[in-house]
């Protein structure tokens, strides 16, 4: 953190000499008042954040072009192997959104999906992280549990749907179970990976400072694995949404996945796109939440 700030300062100092045209810098110095100061500050800020601004600008243009393409393809009902005949236009989706904004059932669908994610994902994190830590630390635990997880891991969460319906008394529980399974393995695998990469020198350093097994676990293995645990949580969150939507489409009664599937059944084509966009935004938001939480608990990592 500090070194980056320092480098920025140095860059700022060097900026008038290198970046700005030579005739400009002296005039600023001679005026010296508040407005030119601000102008100089603005120039420096722009110079330093050029690449960031560039990315934002290009990103915005790219999204606008995507919308335009979508609009044109649906406006002219293009059929070029792919058929856009029934695909809703962006404006139709926007209309659908404004309608949904005044509709409590739409919010109910969204909130229910979020609640399922919260339960399923939290359970997965609460079980997979400690399990990964224990399996990473104790060989016997690894030898016993690893074969089981390796056999179960390749089974997609969606394939669990029939089994889940048999296993759990209510529909709600089986959907949460599917969500749980989806996020469980990415979290476990990444936690294990993080544990395997813990620098043994750090463990030895802790031992030399009088740390016993529990302290080493808490003070070395856990924080050292945290970056990988958070990678697992981010991936797990993505897979949780995939699994949830699939489960909701198959066996749900409510939820945003059900909403999307129902829209198709009811020939509400605009609602299909609305549901998809909503899922995208929710997925993006939940990943951002985890990243933000990660930065909060790992102030030492730069990224």
């Amino acid at each position: 953190m500090e070194s980056i700030a320092l480098r920025r300062e140095q860059q700022t100092a060097a900026e008038p000499a290198t970046g700005a045209e030579p005739s400009y810098a002296p005039t600023v110095q001679s005026q010296g008042g508040a407005p030119p100061q601000f102008a100089l500050y603005l120039r420096r800020w722009l110079a330093l954040n050029r690449s960031g601004l560039r990315a934002v600008l290009i990103g915005a243009i790219s999204l606008a072009l995507f919308l335009l393409a979508w609009h044109l393809l649906t406006e002219y009902r293009v059929v070029f192997f792919v058929r856009f005949t029934n695909v809703p236009s962006p404006s139709a989706v926007y209309e659908s959104l404004t309608r949904a904004m005044h509709d409590s059932t739409f919010f109910m669908h969204v909130i229910l999906s979020c609640r399922r994610i919260l339960f399923g994902f939290s359970l997965a994190a609460l079980i997979a992280v400690p399990l990964g830590l224990v399996m990473g630390r104790f060989r016997l635990a690894h030898e016993i549990l690893f074969p089981i997880t390796e056999v179960l891991r390749p089974i997609p969460a969606i394939a669990w749907v029939p089994m889940a319906i048999m296993l759990w008394p209510t529909n709600e529980q089986s959907i949460i179970y599917i969500t749980f399974l989806g996020s469980f393995f990415p979290i476990l695998v990444n936690t294990l990976h993080g544990m395997s990469l813990v620098d043994p020198v750090l463990v030895r350093a802790a031992q030399c400072l009088g740390a016993r097994e529990m302290s080493i676990f808490r003070e070395v293995y856990f924080p050292a694995s945290l970056p990988h645990i958070f990678t697992g949580l981010t991936v797990g969150m993505g897979v949780a949404w995939v699994s949830l939507i699939a489960a909701e489409m198959i066996s749900g009664q409510f939820g945003i996945g059900y909403f999307t599937w129902e829209a198709y059944s009811l020939v509400q084509y605009a609602d299909i796109a609305l549901g998809m966009i909503c899922i995208g935004v929710l997925g993006l938001g939940s990943s951002a939440l985890i990243r933000g939480f990660g930065r909060l608990v790992m102030p030492w990592s730069r990224t």
């Binding site: 030895r204 350093a205 400072l209 003070e219 730069r302």
Partner: protein, 291 residues
């Protein structure tokens, strides 16, 4: 400040007697160290030098308690070493600071393991960091520090628990030459103030002579003690002493001892005669001299 009051130099004696360590391979046991004995008197600064792979780090790790000898024994103040512990502070070449802890958090770690309460931990850490000139960096994370600063924190962290002996495994090996010289001075100052026993492993002969009271020179693998050299240079030592004839004499002696072993370590005696047929211009010197 209890951690800073120097122990009376009656504590901190290290005895390694007839130490041997071998490990098993498919071809049978391989000896890493055989029959090495070293002693460090309380408050003494002792270095181990030797060609790379000679087992000097192995010896140090055995004193730290990470390795069990196959034969022989390691005792500190008469007590057999059984696993690592806070009575033997260790400084590693790879810094080994906890990246998730601030400088102060790193220094406090050993005290936390001793179950000291937060306020006395805080006080102790601040005092030590102040002595090492690191107060301005106490809330920084290790990643933002230079190598020299990291190692200073590493030394302070190892000293914070008030160990009887300090073990250093090529602590300045990763530093540039200028920083290394400064770090050597800092370490000497700390050692003189604390009067703690130091066992120092290095492959840098100048460093070993400049810092130590005594230097052990090891043979190529399987490592054994080839020579023990007392360094009669007076203290406090200064950089200028490294140009004195006394220093250079010691350096020359150690140098030739180590070179013999390094050549052995690189694959047996080099045969000058074998090169006669080749047209390599050695400027009239023998290959051993060139090497």
């Amino acid at each position: 400040m209890s951690v800073m009051t120097p122990d009376p130099p009656s504590k901190g004696r290290i005895d390694v007697d007839n130490f041997a360590l071998s490990y098993d391979t498919l071809e049978g046991p391989v000896e890493a160290v055989c029959n090495a004995s070293i002693h460090v008197n309380p408050g003494e600064f002792v270095s181990i030098v030797g060609p790379s792979g000679c087992g000097k780090s192995t010896l140090l790790n055995a004193v730290a308690g990470f390795l069990k000898p196959t034969k022989g024994g390691v005792t500190v103040d008469g007590e057999a070493v059984d696993g690592p512990g806070a009575d033997r502070g260790m400084v590693f070449q790879q810094y080994s600071l906890f990246p998730w802890k601030t400088v102060k958090g790193n220094v406090e770690f050993g005290l936390k393991m001793k179950h000291l309460d937060k306020s006395s931990r805080d006080r102790a850490a601040r005092t030590l960091l102040g002595l090492a000139g690191l107060t301005a960096f106490e809330n920084k994370y290790p990643d933002s520090l230079s190598g020299g600063m990291k190692q200073r924190v590493g030394i302070v962290r190892a000293l914070a628990t008030g160990p009887k002996v300090l073990l250093l495994d090529e602590p300045f090996g990763a530093l540039d030459a200028q920083t290394r010289v400064i770090m050597q001075q800092i370490l000497t100052n700390m050692w003189q103030r604390l009067k703690i026993s130091v066992l120092f492993v290095t492959h840098d002969i100048d460093e070993a002579i400049f810092l130590s009271d005594r230097v052990y020179c090891m043979t190529a693998r399987p490592g054994a003690i080839k020579a023990e050299i007392t360094i009669p240079l007076e203290r406090p030592r200064h950089q200028s002493m490294m140009m004195s004839s006394e220093f250079l004499g010691l350096r020359r002696g150690l140098m030739s001892l180590i070179r013999e072993e390094s050549i052995k370590a690189m694959g047996g005696e080099l045969n000058d005669l074998a090169l006669d047929g080749l047209s390599i211009d050695l400027h009239g010197q023998s290959l051993a001299d060139v090497l």
